[in-house]
Amino acid sequence: MTSYRRRLERDLDAWIDRGLVAAANREEILATASEGRRIDAATVLGIIGGLLAGVAVIAFVAANWSAIPRIGRFGTVLAAFLGAAGGAAWAASRKRDVTRQVLLCIAALEFAAAIGLTGQIFDIAGDAQAALRMAGLAAVALAAAGASPWAGAVGLLLIALGDFEGPWMSGGRSDWPGWLVIAAPLAGAAALRWRSAPLAHAAGLCLVLTVLTLGEAARSNAERAFLGAAAVLALAATGLRLARDRFEAPAGVLYGWCVWGALIWFGAAGFGEQMRGVLHSVVWLGVSAGVVVLGRHDRSSAITAAGVIGLFVAGATLLFNLGVGLLTSAMVFGLLAAASLVIAFIIRRGKTA
């Protein structure tokens, strides 16, 4: 929001110079521009101090771990978790939002550690995937209870780790899709509801990676799965682009991730035997060029970057698919360049008309 205020100050000065706005209204207009919540240095130092104190306690307990009876260790693990959760409840009652979010994240991570340590303390054999997923669900429950998108992001990442635990792309895992198929879209919806950019980033990353957790569907026909994922992500990107005005920054973040994901999986589909070829590379080039135009239009450097990288990689695959025949390559690139110039000319004429 600071950059918005600075831009507004510059624009206001220009409007005043041109006589569009009365100079007397400058301060009043600026006062209506919200600054947004900023975390000050004292808060940051407080957070760092709290985390360091936690590390000190963990190191002290670890140094004496062997000397503590099993039941004592279990009690310590539970007390640490309940202490963090209790602190979060206290912070919520005092309306201390940052403290509440940090303590809920710590509580979520401590519960994840508690699952592992309990298994170790009592030699309870278990599945690492199930443990990570349970820890993720616990973090999501804490996030929902405390309306904390940060804890939600922790939960989503734990669920993602659970999905990727073990030989997930080989035949060793379940035929069922991973939990991300449901968790990532839900996290995206939560990010929009809570207006949280951090959760939107976590959800966006997981939306892109979800296709790798599709299990047997992705293993048996990877190309179709990748192409399907690209189509779904492109549709989601379209919807999110339209929703940016309503949901602000988180929608923009998710929109960017979906564009990246759609391009990545469309490109990945062309590495299989069925779709590999000049046609796929040319379409990929065209789509990437379209994404560059979209990124420039939306003034989004992330989306422009996706398009530019797509252009590079698609160009490289086109050369490869042409068998690096230089004459043929020159002809194809020449045709593509001519097509781009013609489209640019038509667009420019349409604007000036």
């Binding site: 539970l78 959760a85 309870i124 804490l142």
Partner: protein, 204 residues
């Protein structure tokens, strides 16, 4: 009705999660106590890992007598969750009598059925001084019951690790895992016996 406030919701969820963890420990402890205890031969497998706490990793394995054939093994791709192994008493120990795809089929082979995977691999028996020069071919049973380590204090773990890693044909260290086979067929570690010294898992 007014929904509960955020502090109340956080405390309620934290309480449920803590109770869930306590319930897991109590349930596992009860299942361990109520299960049928069997004693299975084991050998050392790998030194302790600092990142995973102090534990001794072991492998449930036993060499069959020379010329003894392999019992039925688990099917390829079988896992601890969906495979069954039948165990029969053999002196103080239990040995694998064969693998099956269902509990009923395993119980037809031997009186105890446990979830796991049984593999039988050919190998050579350790030679002792005075033995025939030709090494004896034996079959080795490898049992995966989902338990492969015991967490101990550092000093205990180091002593046990040294014993399990020592290989002396003249003084073979007898090492056994004490396993509780619950009603659900799941194997739970009760303790280990290494060189005649029994170490039990308890609350202390």
């Amino acid at each position: 009705m007014k929904p509960p406030s955020a502090p109340v919701r956080i405390l309620a969820v934290a309480g449920v999660l803590a109770l869930g963890l306590v319930g897991l420990v109590v349930r596992e402890g009860r299942a361990r106590a109520e299960g049928q205890e069997v004693r299975l031969a084991m050998t050392g497998y790998d030194p302790r890992s600092l990142l995973s706490g102090h534990f001794v990793q072991f492998q449930l394995r036993q060499d069959l007598p020379p010329a003894a054939p392999c019992p039925g093994q688990s099917e390829a791709g079988a896992s601890v969750e969906d495979g069954w192994v039948a165990l029969r008493a053999d002196g103080a120990r239990h040995v694998a009598a064969g693998a099956a795809s269902t509990r009923e089929a395993a119980l037809r082979l031997a009186p105890v059925a446990v979830r796991g995977v049984l593999t039988c691999t050919p190998g050579l028996a350790p030679q002792r001084p005075g033995d025939d020069d030709r090494p004896l071919e034996v079959q080795t049973l490898l049992l995966d019951l989902g338990i492969d380590r015991i967490h101990l204090d550092q000093a205990q773990a180091e002593v046990m690790e040294r014993q399990l890693r020592r290989f002396d044909p003249d003084a073979v260290v007898e090492a056994d895992a004490l396993v509780s086979v619950g009603r659900d067929g799941k194997a739970r570690l009760v303790g280990v016996v290494v060189g005649g010294k029994r170490t039990d898992l308890d609350w202390w």
